[in-house]
Point group: D2
Chain length 328, copies 4
């Protein structure tokens, strides 16, 4: 009897931070084979020259649908807008896709176009599954196209889903703090070390594109979402302020939601960004503010891992019938 | 005609971060004479050995009311509770005081005792003035005892006062981020470099003692206030989320409040913590979130300067009839 | 046929940084069983409360030779001086030891006592093996007591051993830069975030105790060794300046020495501290300075991993006949 | 009698870090008038928009020799090579110049061309004075063209000049650590926050262009000079290792050299980079390594202040007959 061969996976856009981490995880994964790593800007260069920490012995190539779609699955790490047509091409060839962009996260095309502009492959929107395993595990297992959540939404939705499900979300403020890798690898003035060091900078106030995703997955509640850049490399904390619609056993809701989840840790003390660094964990801590009646929920993740690439692998594991924690 | 001699000032508790900055500012001030610097732990050591950046050529001495109260004014940089009796002693000797502790900030003794425990000199509460010049300039000018605001309240009150005065504060969440010097100089596990680096940590959730001060100065509105430690040395940002009670020309309110203020800069872009480092400036930026109707106000200060010690000098200038910006 | 049971290992001093990393590595190691974690200061507390990142589900206990020496091996993470008697006790009970302290690193008792004072178990000095696998692999495999190298010596010796073996070391200056975790977990003024941030600080100039270890392993050459504290958590770089005794094919020496080494990477570009973080790798880069004739060698490691605890596991693997890379 | 008007100064290249600091210092200087600030890339933008911390109320303009040479002096903050022709033009119009580039630092044109390529205004080389006041105070006072030293040379030369003068420099290794602002404001991969954070990176090993300057001012001795990038914004430390040619009272040499210098502090403890931040100070500490006979000298400066722009103002003060510390 022939041994089942490992599913072959390509990572498109592997020269960015997210693509590099996805490549490293898949390269050392016991049950996938990393078949191709592609990139536009650094084509011809070994991935390990651009990102030595990955220690992936493959050369970056310019993506060529003829040559690189000979795989069972692809992780697409393209900018928003650029991803949709490439994903459509891969799907036509029968390749299963985890897409790291926002292109397939929003079910409602009108909402997408409000925040992002025209959509490049609207026909695929209906079949895409929002890839947050803790909320959509079963759908992911059967999906051919998984829209991997944004980093902020991963943390914010995990922080608030137990309250949302119980109908407790009356009024929501999400104040997020993120390391600089979340802003991508392209060198710009605002990512220059001197610009980031010894300061905290709010950005895209009232108009960050992760907002509609959070609202979709929390059942449509309106949220104020404000991200801040903090002087660290990777890691993300969301501080969520909720005016509850009624009294409730909040601790019980979180225990029910997460006691059996392998990658969510509900803790009593501070959430602990260092504890999730380069892991697939999300750590959550919940507080009541008796004076004001608010519930305050903190959640922390590594934006490049649970916030992007290790979650992509978690999704791939589910899509291919493996234990979702394999290789993580 | 004899030249007026410079008022002599003592700094009590000069070995801490705040006391050291106050000493340095007064040492180089054109119109005060720094007469004494005292400290318990480092008595006998030159201040410039403990804090070389100050370049103050005085030796720290253990405070002795007999010897060190021969001054016109004192800046008291003691912990809460420890300050009150020392301030009382100085006032009995006719010394004018800027107290950096919380002991005289709250007008309502019951509120103080709720948050801090017994008060050590309640008789002085009535005469103390809350030392935020932008709100209480005239009272400070005539005061003998000025309670210097906490660092978070300085930023939060300046951020929200224009809305408070207009009766617009319906619901307030304040999410604050502070450098580590705000937590003091004593070495502890949570201030160890390794504990702070590459992480953001909320602390004293729902119970930080700066809360009642903020509420007092904003006219009694309830606020949710959550500070976070961020990996930087000094600097502080407050992100304030307000559900306004009605529509209003918010930009106009801030222009009215601050156009003539020498140390408040209302800016359009991000507030800019680096821009206020080692200055007496507070920078404020105001945003409307059209989707949710919220007003979002950011304010940033250097917690050791406008948040503590340069504000103390601003207050001393006012108390002694000088231009409030002298030496700053 | 009965399955061989996993060797049981205790970590003594598991509440410090090094002990915690060793515990985490052994807990998830496929062929060792972490049997006990001990600590003086936090006895009774789960290790995962003190160091959540370890996720080790054991409770710290005060070390008791009667109860905790029921193991096949121990990693001893005690301060210098305190380790020797405990190691002696473990050896008497037949426990094999990797000692992280300096107590058994120097073969010459007189040299030890010059730098450290009296030795607590001189009888064991003769049998101890210096635990740098790249230099002493075979001896380690047969040893019952392995003296794990200091973090600086690990990097410095790996950087210079190929030159030392070739007799090229004429004159050596080692300028080292280390993250703060190298200075230990105890909170002190010099490890306070504010003291370390935005500065570089040389310390123990001319008298750091890692010096004699480096000299011993490099064949007795005198070195000037100067460590500096830099604002980062873990990671270490040594910059070594050598006046060579003659011309030689230096690149060839490094290729010969390290081409087959699994954990040493000789690279062309900068050494790359981020590339070794939380790994057992040492990265080395070698440069010739034609103008002065000097050879400049850089080596970087994670001081808590290859510099201490992952190297301890590498040694344990060798001592117990496993592949030296297992679990790393 | 008419009041002497303040000399008018232009800063060319004011959008970079060095030009911005020079502009800020001159704007608030009691005896110069900042007349123009010019820049190529941000022409038309207020300097305070690009560098808000300067609070300079001038608009950046593209440099126009017809309009901007109506000044008494200019600080030229151009890249090497670009400076020479502009400086020549200014000199033709009688404008006195402090040039921050390397173009006029090396007296020997051949040495310049070895390291930098063709020289754009060799006729001016003879009249330029190397602008290190502690070494060349009198010449600077009479100069029309001052070549402001590089940041590393400022620290290294001040560290070693007392030994050089005494003929003690036998063999010199300089290992330097610099904050990222030293590498300029242009965004590049190697200045991206994520590239710099948690690492130390040597660069231009054996071929940094500050080397010949150091050698020129130390009397021609050959030095090995290796700079490293460290994760901080500004500040620079040089660690200098010297094999002395003979025994000597080293402490006395430093006392003789610097006791009367207003901006050099010789200290016993660590040099203290935080103590010189945003000041014109250089702090030096000297150690003997008895075991190896080496002398180890540390010097620290703020690379943008004493290393560049405040030193430029110190030079301007001298050139215009003012106290050299004015406005610093």
């Amino acid at each position: 009897m022939a041994r089942r061969t490992a599913p072959r996976v390509a990572v498109l856009g592997a020269a960015g931070y997210a693509g590099a981490v996805a490549s490293a995880l898949l390269h050392r994964h016991p049950h996938f084979e990393l078949a191709h790593v592609t990139a536009r800007s650094d084509a011809g260069v070994p991935l390990a020259d651009v990102h030595p920490r990955t220690r992936v012995p493959l050369v970056l190539e310019e993506y060529d649908p003829e040559r690189h779609a000979d795989v069972d699955a692809a992780v697409v790490a393209y900018p928003h807008g650029a991803a949709a047509p490439v994903v459509a091409g891969l799907r036509e060839r029968g390749v299963r896709v985890v897409d790291l962009s926002a292109d397939f996260r929003l079910h409602d095309r009108a909402v997408y176009e409000d925040w992002y502009g025209d959509h490049g492959a609207p026909a695929l929107l209906g079949g895409a599954v929002y890839g947050l395993p803790e909320l959509h595990r079963d759908e992911i297992a059967g999906a051919d196209l998984v829209a991997n959540p944004g980093c902020y939404p991963t943390a914010a939705i995990l922080a608030l889903a137990p309250l949302a499900r119980a109908g407790l979300l009356g009024d929501v403020v999400i104040d997020a703090k993120s390391g600089v890798s979340g802003a991508g690898r392209e060198p710009t003035h605002d990512k220059h070390f001197v610009s980031v060091d010894e300061t905290v900078t709010p950005y895209k106030v009232g108009r960050h594109r992760h907002t509609p995703e959070i609202e979709q997955e929390l059942g449509g509640v309106r949220v104020t979402f404000t991200p801040h850049l903090v002087p660290l490399a990777h890691g993300e904390l969301v501080s969520c302020y909720v005016t509850a619609t009624r009294e409730e056993d909040v601790a019980g809701l979180y225990a029910d939601a997460y006691d059996d989840e392998p990658w969510v840790e509900v803790v009593e003390g501070p959430p602990g960004m260092q504890e999730v660094r380069e892991t697939n964990y999300c750590r959550i801590s919940v507080h009541g503010d008796d004076r004001t009646g608010r519930i305050i929920v903190f959640a922390t993740i590594d934006n490049l891992w649970k916030g992007t690439s290790s979650q992509a692998v978690q999704n791939l594991n589910l899509m291919f019938g493996r234990d979702e924690s394999e290789g993580l």
